[in-house]
Symmetry: C2
Subunit: 192 residues, 2 copies
DNA sequence: ATGAAATATATCATACTGATATATTATGAA
DNA sequence: TTCATAATATATCAGTATGATATATTTCAT
């Protein structure tokens, strides 16, 4: 089989758990999935249309169509397609960290600026941590109810592990750069 | 300023260290930068043309143009542009982990399949580790020579920290799923 | 009653990927 | 020496994604 479009599979995955509108799918992307995947409206809506065209999902209007909602449901063909993808080995695991990029070219801007980038990064991570911790706690409590929760928890644990590693790195990296600042201060005989 | 195209900045960053051809830029992407950024020929060559058009880089043929090389050099305007971007806070820090995605929807396929995905992920990481360790070692030894090395080292340390976290997670995640398998075996009264 | 926030879909210019095409040069084995 | 293979080098394109914007309705707090 030709390589599937990833977003087809992600959306089918979400639909395999529950019926959703495009808007709700976007919300899932921005909350639950955002730690390891993302998508914009500009790709979600066309992808949904494509899924319906190919018979992998169906679309219907809301009963009391107040909001002009379009609700999407996965079909049996859609489930088969999803299964195929889930069985195949993962192809792409990559990160795009602009912070690291700026750090890599950091000599141009100097230690002080580099530290500022790391601080901003650290702040972002620290702000996310409570959500991840909360999610992990919730999931651990309802893990017996439904097997899905166990798999959710696995991904949250991944997030926690890596976030803790990020924070450790932030600390060490800043220490290293701080030494640097002191050196240069001494070198140039500056005070404060 | 409107948001800059990231690849403009990445390429200018590379050119700020040395003159390069498009092919060499691609190699840098696939080796040094691949742990936190990526780009394909289909974006590198058009981006280089754009940089020349806008006066941020210049292009010249090789002296003995055996290979029909096109060598790109950063201009002063290019350096200014790069500085602007380096000073601005990072916008996008995201990862796209298909492994995590498949795991998130893992209930559909069951524990055995999930473990297989984690194994593949782990293998990939373990294979990369020696390169990162080697790079860190090399960089630590020549850190005094040139300040650039210190910033390279910072990004390698980031890679090492996160990769170690990944490996820890792999172990724990597989343990959790293995318990699962045992349970289901007991439940269904299977042997072996 | 009213303004702000949330819900909901759609579109578009710009950008990126992954594949493919094309051609040359270096390398190592037969 | 010759010949296949790997490496070097640029370019293009269909398919896909992003981020911004447009539009309209509904819910909610004041």
């Amino acid at each position: 089989m030709a390589t599937e479009k990833k977003l087809d599979c992600v959306i089918l995955g979400l639909l395999s758990h529950e019926e959703l509108t495009g808007y709700e799918i976007k919300k899932r992307m921005d909350t639950t999935l955002k730690y390891f995947w993302g998508a914009s409206y500009g790709s979600i809506y066309p992808t949904l249309s494509g899924l319906v065209e190919r018979g992998l999902a169906t679309k219907r209007g809301d009963a009391d169509n107040k909001r002009n909602k379009l609700i999407y449901t996965i079909t049996n063909e859609g489930r088969d397609y999803l299964q195929q993808w889930l069985k195949a080995p993962a192809e792409k695991d990559e990160l795009r960290y602009e912070t690291l990029l700026k750090l890599f070219f950091g000599k141009e801007e100097g230690a002080r600026q580099a530290i500022a980038h790391i601080d901003a990064f650290q702040e972002k991570i620290e702000k996310e941590m409570p959500y991840l911790l909360g999610a992990a706690e919730t999931l651990r409590n309802c893990i017996a109810e439904d097997d899905t929760h166990k798999y959710y928890l696995l991904t949250v644990e991944f997030g926690l592990k890596t976030y803790r590693a990020y924070l450790e790195w932030c600390k060490e990296a800043k220490n290293m750069l701080a030494e640097d600042l002191q050196e240069s201060r001494k070198g140039r005989n500056e005070t404060c």
